[in-house]
């Protein structure tokens, strides 16, 4: 894209993009961490996660401040306006993903205190897919690639199906044995959190489509 005549403005926009990407990078690490706490039963990683969460929270505020400043002082239009507006939304989605990663880790910490209920097969698969969706959403944002963003929205259905499958499986486990109820409920919560991560990745992808094409595809529009 052609650069802005005002170099300072150009720099401000680039800086905003870099901050969003920095936050995105941290979020990817947080998901990896939380999944490891669960699947590798590595509770020590939880502390690392809480440190990252604080950093993510402060980045969210930094992004909001940068966006508001540019809206007030630059009166952006067209693609700049869309970029800044989605900056505000993406930071919110990323922050929520960070919270969900912490939630997964908290559940996993409790699960790790007891023997593993069953071998985890679909849950790591779901984690990989959700993680991939977040990564792809951020990549489509960097490359302004609406096509790539659209494929993310399609992946969300696969994650939803896995969530359903895990839920049914765990319910039948719990029906067979009351010992399984506590761990089963926690695993269902983890699965639900991963499903929500995928939803937020979908939100980001939808925002990217809006940024690139100016077309709002949310809610089947």
């Amino acid at each position: 894209m052609t650069e802005h005549t005002d170099k300072h403005y150009e720099l401000q926009l680039r800086n905003l993009k870099e901050t969003i990407l920095k936050m995105g990078g941290l979020i990817e690490e947080m998901i990896t961490c939380s999944v490891k706490v669960l699947t590798e039963r590595n509770s020590r990683l939880h502390e690392e996660l809480t440190i990252k969460e604080k950093e993510v929270n402060s980045l969210e505020m930094e992004i909001d401040e940068k966006c508001l400043e540019m809206l007030a002082l630059r009166q952006p239009a067209a693609s700049d306006l869309r970029f800044i507006c989605i900056g505000l939304k993406i930071s919110k989605d990323l922050e929520r993903i960070g919270d969900l990663a912490v939630n997964i880790s908290q559940q996993a910490m409790e699960l790790n205190k007891e023997p593993q209920l069953k071998p985890y097969i679909d849950l790591p698969l779901m984690a990989t897919k959700s993680q991939k969706m977040v990564k792809e959403a951020l990549d489509s944002f960097v490359h302004r690639d609406a096509q790539r963003a659209k494929s993310i929205c399609e992946m969300d259905d696969e994650v939803d199906d896995l969530n359903e499958k895990i839920f049914d499986e765990l319910v039948s486990f719990m029906q067979k044995s009351s010992d399984a109820v506590s761990r089963g409920t926690r695993l269902i919560a983890c699965s639900k959190h991963l499903e929500r991560v995928a939803d937020h990745a979908t939100n980001i992808a939808e925002q990217v489509i809006f940024m690139v094409q100016g077309q709002d595809i949310r809610h089947g529009r």
């Binding site: 005549t5 700049d80 306006l81 869309r82």
Partner: protein, 252 residues
Amino acid sequence: MNKAEVKKLSFYYSSVQALKDISLPIEEKKVTAVIGPSGCGKSTLLRCFNRMHDLYPGNRYDGEILLHPDSINLVGAHIDPIEIRMRIGMVFQKPNPFPKSIYENVVYGLKVRGIKKKRLIDEKCEKSLRDAALWEEVKDRLHKPAFNLSGGQQQRLCIARALATEPEILLFDEPTSALDPIATARVEELIEELKEKVTIVIVTHNMQQAARISDSTAFLYMGELIEFGKTKQLFTNPREKKTEDYITGRFG
């Protein structure tokens, strides 16, 4: 419904072509903004509407500007510019009141038209000043010199003067560029109110102003119409890259 239609309009300052084959509709009782960088032809386009270019020899129009409902071609050679200027008013960049009283400024156009009834003239004077949101500020000093007014008041006086003859279209050429932000806001508010009564075409360098007050926007570049559309669409998601580059400040 369209109040006017620009059709394949080209304009030449002698041998220099300033407008190239421009076509766009002017919607009735709406505000149409014309934006573009310096020298793109936006003021030239505006001045075609009331034939201001006729003042200089060698200038030439091609194409049409049809004024509805009678569909007369405003740039047609056989059309009398004086006749046109009675139907199309204009407000300029700098306030330009006559060196007369406030009252005389407003009623000037009426007197030129031979209206003599004082009561009618007084009524029209008050109505025009009210419509221009100036009445309350000047009603007690109507016969004082117009030059005593502030810049913003003088500009609203010029709007009142243009309104007195009840034009069908009102042309604004950078009407607030010489005004402070408060006076600008008052003129913008006024334009918003005036569109209930009159069709407005405004040329402005201030893109935020175009975005705030217009319904449709035309973007001109080097004498060509690059894009015309609803203001909301043009400022959030323009179709043309040149428009995008201009409104986001990526030009040159």
